[in-house]
């Protein structure tokens, strides 16, 4: 009997498809020098590589959170396994402690007591209004007033040291590998890296990795005994909420483009390539769609979708499935509102390309339209698509928060940055303020979006031929300035 039953949600499936597509694409690019060249330019950008390191951590959390299953329950039912109705993910398993150590209500980061006074009955029978001790946070301390700061420092310090140790191990191993690859001594490679003399800016990668590992080490060490980011209204650990929000953000940022890409590609290229009435029809469709203000179209769509789902409870049985289908629909409608821009861009490019002489040459051979589109036009617009995809990502993550605030974002039961901010906003008026949920959402979102933006810039600089001419700048601010 299996200890769990795998569950593949719709968005999970699409993420797997996305990974497969990315893998095939990478394999395809690897073997072609000219396709690889711009990627090498990305790899030569210090800011791009440093943000990639950070993004890897986010993506890892998101992927762990995309493998779902239902655990088997203890209760045996005549050999038939019974599975929990709760759908868990690998991330939930990794963070079981965080997930299960819920307090009663709000508590501040590193607090030993609840945020609100409660009437507590002492063993001697007296009733006192005080800040009760937390069930889990700092529970190991006898006298938090005195011990807390030192204990936090000690635990945090241990975490930092562990992080540094791990970093050293990774760095030494990697440098040795590099040295072996380039047939130079380890020390020569090492000093080349620190002087910033390597083609790929490994120094930036190492620094970013150091920052991430130290932060992660400290957080892991402290999270075992404290609520690092405090707890929310129902006592959930905010760090856990922030980690769970990552997947939502990533799903919206990536699946939306995946959903819209086929439309934008097919229609944009067709409009530009065939012109005439095909162009007229496609232009009409995207002008109509883009004439409706995005938020309103999304609102209308989500409202109607909500009605559809709510009135058909038989189709969507679990809350997870319902939240997931809403997330998917959100991706689809975001895709519908955002494909028009890319479509217009591709149409313009196809208009230009169809007059290129190599396409005229193909026509002179009587090559079919389909082959011209797939072999000549498509490969020559892929850089535009790639730039659009990476540039859209951060905007989509940001718009999730706004839409959730408006009430047309993800399902309220789904953990996301938007729902976190939305819940925390209501407590703004409280005195003293409950700020930690906001702070956690802010830190995680800023890190994710900033890194995505920096990485997107590196990709655009490497792939856009126009930007490269702008980047011919003097050595003074040299490679750092971004066009």
């Amino acid at each position: 009997m299996l200890a769990f039953k795998p569950v593949i949600l719709w968005t999970d499936a699409l993420i797997y498809v996305l990974i497969a597509v990315a893998a095939v694409f990478a394999w395809h690019v690897r073997r072609r020098e000219h396709l690889l060249a711009p990627w090498k330019r990305v790899a030569h950008s210090p800011s791009g590589m440093a943000s990639l390191v950070v993004l890897v951590f986010f993506v890892a959390a998101g992927l762990l959170d995309s493998v779902h299953f239902r655990p088997a329950l203890e209760a045996k039912n005549a050999g038939e396994p019974v599975y929990s109705v709760d759908v868990l993910s690998l991330l939930d398993v990794v963070t079981t402690d965080l997930r299960q150590r819920t307090e009663k209500t709000y508590s501040a980061p590193f607090a030993a007591h609840l945020f609100a006074k409660e009437t507590v009955e002492h063993p001697d029978g007296t009733q006192v209004r005080e800040f009760p001790r937390l069930r889990f946070g700092a529970a190991h301390l006898k006298d938090p007033e005195r011990e807390l700061a030192a204990d936090v420092l000690a635990n945090g310090g241990r975490g930092v040291l562990a992080g540094i140790a791990l970093w050293l191990a990774v760095v030494v191993g990697f440098t040795a590998g590099l040295a072996a690859g380039s047939r130079r001594s380890v020390s020569a490679t090492w000093s080349a890296i620190w002087r910033g003399g390597t083609e790929v800016p490994w120094r930036a990668v190492y620094v970013a990795l150091a920052v991430m590992l130290v932060l992660a080490g400290a957080t892991v060490a402290l999270a075992a005994k404290y609520h690092v980011f405090g707890t929310d209204k129902v006592g959930q650990d905010v760090l856990y909420l922030a980690l769970k929000s990552i997947r939502t953000g990533l799903v919206i940022g990536t699946l939306t483009t995946l959903v819209m890409l086929p439309f934008a590609l097919l229609l944009g290229i067709m409009a530009g390539y065939f012109r005439g009435w095909v162009d007229d029809v496609i232009q009409y469709v995207y002008t109509t769609l883009s004439s409706i203000p995005g938020v309103l179209l999304i609102a209308a769509f989500i409202l109607m979708m909500q009605v559809y789902v709510e009135t058909r409870p038989d189709l969507f049985d679990t809350t997870a499935a319902r939240a997931d289908i809403r997330l998917l629909f959100l991706c689809i409608i975001l895709g519908v509102t955002s494909w028009t821009g890319l479509c217009r861009l591709l149409r313009g490019e196809a208009l230009k390309l169809r007059e290129m002489e190599y396409i005229q040459a193909a026509h002179a051979f009587g090559v079919s339209h389909w082959r011209v589109i797939t072999r000549h036009i498509l490969p020559n617009v892929m850089h535009i698509v790639l730039i659009a995809v990476v540039m859209d990502f951060s905007g989509l993550v940001l718009s999730e928060a706004v839409l959730s605030y408006v009430g047309v974002g993800v399902d309220p039961s789904m953990i996301s940055f938007g729902t976190m901010i939305n819940a925390a906003r209501l407590e703004m008026a409280r005195e003293p303020m409950v700020w930690w949920s906001l702070a956690a959402a802010f830190v995680f979102m800023l890190a994710l979006v900033l890194c995505a933006n920096l990485f997107a810039d590196a990709v655009r600089d490497a792939f856009d031929p126009r930007v490269r001419t702008l980047r011919l700048e003097p050595a003074a601010a040299g490679g750092e300035a971004k066009a």
Partner: protein, 699 residues
């Protein structure tokens, strides 16, 4: 006259300019020394990428942000421009030194009026204001030959034709009354008739104002017409300096001589053109010897190991070559020998070099009588409707091609000559049905292509192919060479499959002079000339009988052009191909074509054998076109006809003969009817009332 005794205006010494590209430092200008006297036109001649434009921008201190002057001095009347503070330098730009650029289309600000752009210079450098300034602007526009200057002052650049824009640029440059005008390829973007106008304008302005000119060009013809002195640049340095007479009578440097030898012309028909093997060395590396050594026929060990010094010869000629650098007593013989060789070779003309197997012209049958026409185009029309209004009503037609008839026999070359916008490329696309013809017939091997259904047409496409002008745009950058060449074979089902096809690709690559390894590489790894070879191989892959060449060499340097022309000629002899050769370059026509058709505004105005049309042109337009071509040989003076005005729009051609508004010999009937075809001799036709009315067609 020795160089020291003249009063020099501009003295450039050991100028070095670097470009910081992403990966490496390019030594765009590497130790340049020259000087320009007052009132002198000094031509800096060189092929693309040799650093001549960077020299000009270094003098102006207008380098792109990636560029930087690394050393040397630029003295204007003794003042070192490179040492001036930027504020003082701004007082020099536009006032003492003015500059005009290659692309008049993009060099003027599109949102400011012509008047405002000239006024700006007056405002900056002269005390003229208000009405006085306005009068001066009009005066300047008059000086540069812009008709109706009072009206033009308020117009925007987009109202003007390319030639007019360049005139406005010149007016802007003149506004500060500069001592030195730097002209960076001022006529390269213009048609020959317009080029002739602009060059003459510059010459006359120089005569009037006495300004010196630094003329930057790649065109030997332009140099011959304009320059007093010439400097030849190669790979960032000057390899030879000489007076014009001296340079054209006895060029010293092997590179200069090769440039002359690689020019196509009538005298070289039947012979192969000289080519410079290899390519310009990358300027990212340091040179320990002569930069030209790897491509030079005379190079020996010394050339590769030691940088040649500049050697002064007679008449102020200097050359940077070891052939001349050894002690005189010893080297004299050697130098004379090598020079004699070069001169002998040029004198010999057609006799030298590799003689072709068939001496094309004499043995080939005359076209007119030939029954075996491969291609017969009759009254071909390609019109593009102009849509306007709510329901996109057709309000007019752009008559790009308006009744063109021509014929071509197997193994022959017909050159279609005309200026840009005359419709010659549209003729090609109409014949290939890349653009559907509006009317007329295109009979290929007896079958009317214009009437074929798409499926039937597709089967026949293997028989006629095309090669294009821009070798960078004509190959898909995302495909390997083998895929590029195979594309047509797959689509048309020729050349077998599998390994058989790869062998076929190898054979094709060999045929155009590329190694079989080339097939696994991508286009960006090849130079412009090599790409054009790949494009030719792609066309040949389907065994065509007719090859339409649409300006195949106009984007290439002369030495590379020679390679491609040689190749085309050889292929014609070997495979019996017929060429429809579309070009605006008369010297290429002289060299390659058997027959010529001259196009003007959608119609062929003169058609005949190449010697007839080029040596005894009949139509006034043909005569003007030929006289506008700058000639290297200034001794054989041709009659000079300067055309006024620009090519009219094909959407609204003039009534009667399209050429009459510009024709120096226009008569009354020219304004009323389009002249019919007059047969002067078998195979020679002209459409002009000077030669009878022909079968008049209403227009």
């Amino acid at each position: 006259m020795s160089a020291a005794s003249r009063r020099e205006l501009l003295q450039v010494a050991d100028l070095r300019t670097r470009l910081h590209t992403g990966d490496a430092v390019v030594r765009a200008v590497d130790g340049l020394t020259f000087s320009i006297g007052r009132g002198e036109t000094f031509a800096l001649l060189g092929e693309s990428g040799c650093g001549k434009s960077m020299t000009a921008l270094s003098v102006m201190r207008l380098l792109p942000e990636a560029g930087q002057v690394a050393g040397g001095t630029v003295r204007l009347d003794g003042t070192d421009l490179l040492a001036l503070p930027e504020v003082a330098m701004r007082g020099v730009r536009g006032r003492r030194v003015a500059m005009i650029f290659q692309e008049p289309g993009t060099s003027l600000n599109p949102v400011l009026t012509v008047g405002e752009q000239i006024m700006e210079v007056l405002d900056r450098h002269t005390p003229l204001r208000g009405d006085a300034a306005r009068r001066r602007v009009i005066e300047l526009l008059e000086q540069v030959g812009i008709p109706d200057p009072v009206r033009r002052v308020g117009e925007y650049p987009f109202h003007l034709s390319g030639g007019m824009k360049q005139r406005v640029m010149i007016a802007t440059a003149l506004a500060g009354e500069p001592d030195l005008l730097i002209a960076d390829e001022p006529t390269t973007a213009l048609d020959v008739t317009i080029q002739a106008q602009v060059l003459e304008l510059i010459r006359s302005l120089q005569a009037r104002t006495g300004m010196a000119i630094l003329l930057i060009t790649h065109d030997l013809g332009v140099v011959s017409e304009m320059a007093h002195r010439v400097a030849v640049m190669y790979a960032g340095e000057i390899v030879e300096t000489a007076s014009r007479e001296r340079f054209f009578s006895s060029p010293a440097h092997p590179y200069s001589r090769k440039l002359f030898d690689s020019l196509p012309r009538q005298g070289k028909r039947g012979a192969n053109l000289a080519v410079i093997r290899g390519a310009v060395p990358p300027l990212t590396r340091e040179f320990g010897g002569c930069r030209f050594a790897d491509r030079c026929d005379f190079a020996w060990d010394l050339c590769r190991g030691t940088v040649p010094p500049a050697v002064a010869l007679e008449d102020g000629q200097t050359v940077r070559c070891h052939l001349y650098s050894e002690p005189r007593a010893e080297s004299g013989g050697r130098r004379d020998q090598s020079r004699d060789e070069g001169e002998a070779r040029r004198a010999e003309g057609p006799a030298s070099g590799q003689r072709s197997a068939v001496s094309g012209q004499a043995s080939a049958p005359s076209l007119a009588g030939s029954e075996a026409q491969l291609l017969k185009v009759a009254e071909l029309k390609v019109h593009f409707p102009i849509h306007r209004g709510l329901f996109k009503r057709v309000v007019g037609q752009v008559m790009a091609v308006d009744g063109v008839s021509l014929g071509l026999a197997p193994g022959r070359t017909l050159a279609l000559v005309g200026e840009s916008g005359c419709g010659k490329t549209t003729v090609a696309k109409g014949i290939l049905r890349l653009i559907p013809p509006t009317a007329g017939s295109v009979r290929f091997a007896g079958v009317d292509l214009a009437g074929l259904a798409p499926a039937e047409l597709r089967v026949r496409r293997a028989e006629f192919q095309i090669i294009f002008q821009d070798p960078y745009a004509s190959l898909n950058p995302r495909m390997r060479v083998v895929e590029i060449i195979e594309e047509g074979m797959t689509a048309l089902g020729v050349g077998g499959s599998g390994t058989g096809r790869w062998q076929e690709v190898d054979r094709l690559l060999g045929q155009v002079g590329l190694p079989p390894e080339a097939k696994f590489r991508y286009p960006h790894e090849f130079s412009g000339g090599q790409r054009q070879r790949i494009a030719i191989a792609r066309a040949l892959a389907v065994n065509p009988k007719l090859l339409i060449c649409d300006e195949p060499t106009s984007a290439l340097d002369v030495s590379v052009q020679a390679q491609i022309l040689n190749l085309l000629k050889e292929l014609q002899e070997r495979l019996g191909l017929a060429f429809l050769f579309i070009t605006h370059n008369i010297s290429v026509v002289e060299y390659l074509a058997h027959e010529v058709a001259v196009m003007y505004l959608g119609r062929i105005v003169e058609h005949g054998p190449v010697e007839e049309v080029l040596n005894r042109p009949k139509h006034p337009y043909t005569r003007a076109l030929l006289s506008a071509v700058p000639v290297i040989d200034r001794e054989t003076k041709r009659e000079v006809i300067r055309l006024q005005g620009d090519l009219p729009s094909p959407a609204n051609p003039p009534a009667g003969c399209h050429f009459h508004p510009r024709c120096p010999q226009a008569m009354t009937e020219c304004r009323e009817h389009y002249p019919g075809v007059t047969q002067l001799a078998p195979g020679q036709e002209v459409r002009c009332f000077l030669y009878g009315s022909g079968e008049t067609t209403a227009s």
